[in-house]
């Protein structure tokens, strides 16, 4: 089960979210100047923000390459349960049988509870306080990170118990 790509899928999501959080510094900085003409789009940033944006873009490309290689390797080893990178349905759902469907449902319920509380709370904070754009983006990414973390921890707990 440890080798099951669906089990580690939330960890990939979390890694992508962390890179997006760094990328957001470059994109949302007030020091970023975006000029758009009919034929071109130029983005000028300050040194630090520009470096972070560039480094995050490189890191994102590297991670997505590793991810696609790992996914291809998994699909080759598991032709009966291939994962499509373009699937709308989250591939981390484990529904091979009724027991696995049951623990997946429990994990999804925990995530739903988390989202139910955090999103309205976050919206309220954003409405009440003049929060910079970067912090709003980080907040949204933090919710997405938390969602994946909760799902992963819950699934891991159940599967660890089953292994004992």
């Amino acid at each position: 089960m440890k080798q099951d790509f669906r089990m580690t899928y939330p960890l990939w999501n979390m890694a992508f979210i962390l890179i997006l959080a760094v990328m957001a510094v470059g994109f949302t900085s007030s020091l970023v100047n975006v000029t758009k003409t009919d034929s071109s789009l130029s983005i000028e940033t300050q040194a630090v923000e520009g470096f972070l944006l560039f480094a995050a873009l490189i890191a994102y490309l590297v991670l997505i390459t590793i991810y696609l290689i790992a996914l291809q390797s998994y699909n080759r080893k598991n032709p009966g349960k291939k994962i499509s990178p373009f699937s709308m349905r989250p591939p981390e759902y484990m529904e091979q049988d009724e027991g696995m469907t049951f623990i997946t449902r429990k994990a999804v319920q925990k995530v739903y509870t988390f989202i139910t509380w955090t999103l309205p709370f976050f919206a309220l904070i954003v409405m009440l306080f003049p929060i910079p754009r970067l912090f709003i983006v980080w907040g949204i990414l933090a919710v997405a990170f938390g969602q994946n973390l909760i799902y992963y921890m819950e699934m891991r707990r159940h599967l660890k118990e089953a292994a004992e």
């Binding site: 049988d97 027991g99 696995m100 049951f102 623990i103 089953a162 292994a163």
Partner: protein, 66 residues
């Protein structure tokens, strides 16, 4: 609360969780969840387990007052 004798009977017949799982078409993890009482199986799966473990469903699963 639903109690069961899956672990006891599985041991009696010398099946591993994986072997029993294969016979009833579920994963090893699902057998473990059932044995720990974490998951109550469907009627279909209960009947399959009872058949493989050669007992009546009522002798394999029963309700216990909390």
């Amino acid at each position: 609360m639903l109690k069961n004798r899956v672990k006891e009977l599985r041991a009696r017949y010398g099946y591993t969780q994986s072997e029993l799982g294969k016979q009833v078409d579920v994963t090893r993890q699902t057998i473990a969840f059932i044995e720990k009482g974490e998951f109550s199986p469907s009627i279909t799966l209960s009947l399959k387990l009872a058949k493989v473990l050669q007992v009546e469903v009522g002798d394999l699963f029963w309700l216990e007052e909390e």
